[in-house]
């Protein structure tokens, strides 16, 4: 009996050790490449051209960042990214909450039809070209509002908020009504403050989506003054790709400069996400649970 227990202990310990080793390898696989990008972005052009470093750059310099920040278009793009994300998130969350609040009331007329219409949009869409033609005929091409208006609404988010509002006790609403409050008043003054956790989750997910989105720009925007950071970065990447392909023996200097600029832009583009990531992490797990429970 004793021998059996000891053997199990040993088995278990081997399992634990192997498990930890494998997970350490996994984290190394994620961390090292990211670290390498950061370190490379702070390297001088000469160090980048020679390469050959993984963890530590032989020659540190801020020249890449200086080059990026001296370019006025990066400030413009940063401004576009920040404004489309903040305006987009606020309007999206408010709009979805408003519709979700309305639909959370069981007694409203036409509710079944509304929900059915919404569910259909979760599975079917017109796809890229019909949507493009719509955006074009609405006159939203090359307009800042193309970042905001088509992204106002998502039935998935409406469903999450709807379920959340339904869990708020009815008595709160009833007592407010006795005091003479209308539906809008109840929604704005009672339900919105009570639903902050759910709305924060949706806001954070939507915010990451808005910040990272580049297809909207690629499809609907040709005016460079409306480019967000992601699109700027894409242009730099495409440009450097073509260069490095033409560059057989040619101007290695140009290549390393664009490479440096590219690296610095990558870091700048990602920085806001990394900064809010700790806040994000607290919320998104509960948010995922919220989404999973209704399935």
């Amino acid at each position: 009996m004793n021998g059996k227990v000891a053997k199990e202990d040993l088995d278990s310990r081997i399992f634990d050790t192997l498990n930890i080793i494998l997970l350490v390898i996994c984290t190394v696989i994620i961390v090292v490449p990211l670290w390498n990008v950061i370190i490379s972005s702070f390297s001088s052009g000469k160090a980048l051209a020679e390469g050959g470093f993984i963890f530590w750059s032989p020659e540190f310099s801020l020249e890449n960042y200086r080059a990026v920040f001296n370019d006025s278009s990066i400030w413009q793009a940063f401004f576009i990214s920040v404004s489309k994300t903040t305006i987009g998130v606020v309007t999206h969350v408010f709009f979805c909450a408003m519709v979700g609040y309305g639909l959370s009331k069981k007694y409203i007329r036409g509710r079944k039809l509304y929900v059915a219409m919404g569910v259909i949009t979760m599975f079917f869409s017109g796809g890229m070209i019909p949507t493009y033609l719509l955006i074009k005929s609405l006159g939203l091409l090359n307009s800042f509002w193309v970042y905001i208006i088509p992204a106002l609404f998502s039935f998935y988010d409406v469903v999450i908020l709807m379920n959340f509002f339904r869990n708020v006790p009815d008595s709160l609403e009833e007592s407010a009504k006795i005091d003479g409050a209308g539906d809008w008043h109840i929604f704005l003054k009672i339900f919105i403050p009570l639903s902050m956790p759910a709305m924060a989750t949706i806001a954070l997910f939507n915010g990451v989506g808005q910040w990272n989105d580049f297809m909207t720009t690629k499809l609907y925007i040709t005016d460079q003054s409306l480019y967000p950071l992601q699109m700027m970065l894409y242009e730099i990447i495409v440009q450097s790709q073509t260069q490095s392909m033409q560059n057989i023996g040619g101007s290695a200097v140009i290549e390393t400069t664009t490479k440096g600029v590219q690296l610095a832009t990558i870091v700048i583009t990602t920085l806001p996400i990394v900064l809010i990531y700790p806040i994000l992490q607290r919320y998104f797990i509960s948010g995922m649970m919220l989404g999973a429970v209704k399935e």
């Binding site: 984290t27 007694y107 599975f123 070209i129 033609l133 003479g180 990272n212 992601q230 996400i273």
Partner: protein, 330 residues
């Protein structure tokens, strides 16, 4: 104030009606009356409905241009009908079939490897005893999910460049003698697409599994321990069976998305050297529609893909429900 009071007293519950259907005229009348009473709350919903009609239903109607010959000078209704002509052209389009082969190749590799890894990773994280290391692993593994494909694409290009991390590692390990940019090697593109996708999403994929595992009754494990079951045995006989339904659900969703390979990823990683192996259906639709202006043709391709995807969804749901003792997951 008195107006408000009238409204609020009537917004309450639906009036109780005696059984049986009333004549249509009266029902319409009641509907209108109810609607007026609920105007305030209806005014919150109607904007959403109008949004859906404009931004979801009009594009669905717009799919009809797949059966038309739409040119820039036409409007949606004035373009002449051509029946299935666009689909006939697709069938004999070599580039389309190349894109299909690439999409399926990449998707099946993603399905075969990318579907299993998050499950294994989730089990490994779940089996960790130390709380702090567990949290650390989770934090690190979720992080790549929040990078956009553009950022990751830029990183990949840096890592794979001749002076970059990847060549450096291989050189120092003595696996290659000459640095080489594998992003320009068409033959390796599928693997780059698949492995970079796994690198980005595997950690994120564990969240749902971990949430389900945290709900497994710990007494199962205790009982198994007393019976002398090894850790692997416990995983096989307790953890996995408890995750069966969520795994099936995920599988169904993955299978239905097989044809919709990541457009962002392709656009950023595709170059003139690897195009033959990198072009997927979505990027083909983008190129035909947006770059070459062949709207009808591109829409037809898109519509065909959606139809096949719905068929895949229904089939996958049927098969997994058979495996799950006839309990449909969807």
């Amino acid at each position: 104030m008195s107006k408000l009071a009238v409204e609020t007293s009537s917004t309450g519950k639906k009036p109780i009606r005696p059984g049986g259907r009333k004549p249509i005229g009266q029902r319409v009348k009641e509907f209108v009356i109810d609607y007026r009473r609920q105007w305030e709350i209806q005014s919150m919903i109607i904007p959403g409905i109008i949004f859906m009609i404009i931004f979801c239903y009009i594009p669905i109607y717009g799919l009809t241009i797949a059966f038309k010959n739409y040119t820039v000078i036409d409007t949606l209704s004035s373009a002449p009908w051509v029946g299935l002509e666009n689909f006939r052209i697709i069938m004999s389009d070599k580039y389309f079939w190349d894109a299909v082969v690439n999409t399926l190749g990449i998707s099946f590799l993603k399905l075969g490897i990318g579907f299993v890894i998050p499950i294994i990773l989730a089990i490994m994280i779940y089996e960790l005893n130390s709380g702090r290391f567990k949290k650390f692993v989770q934090t690190i593994s979720y992080l790549p999910h929040f990078l956009s494909w553009i950022v990751l694409g830029g990183m990949l290009i840096t890592w794979f460049s001749t002076t970059g991390l990847f060549n450096q590692l291989l050189l120092s390990l003595g696996l290659i003698s000459q640095p080489q940019n594998i992003l320009l090697d068409a033959g390796k593109y599928w693997w780059i697409a698949v492995l970079s996708d796994i690198w980005k999403e595997a950690g994120w994929g564990t969240i749902l599994y971990l949430a389900i595992m945290s709900k497994i009754d710990p007494t199962y494990y205790e009982a198994a321990k007393i019976d002398g079951a090894s850790r692997l045995r416990q995983i096989w006989n307790i953890t996995l069976p408890n995750m069966k339904s969520i795994i099936s659900l995920n599988l169904i969703l993955t299978v239905s998305g097989l044809l919709g390979s990541n457009l962002d990823q392709t656009l950023v990683l595709m170059n003139s050297q690897n195009r033959d192996k990198a072009e997927v259906i979505n990027s083909y639709v983008y190129r035909m529609g947006m770059s070459q202006g062949d709207f009808s043709y591109a829409t037809a391709v898109g519509l065909g893909v959606s139809i096949v995807s719905v068929i895949l969804l229904v089939t996958a749901n049927k098969i997994t429900s058979k495996l799950n003792d006839n309990q449909s997951v969807l």
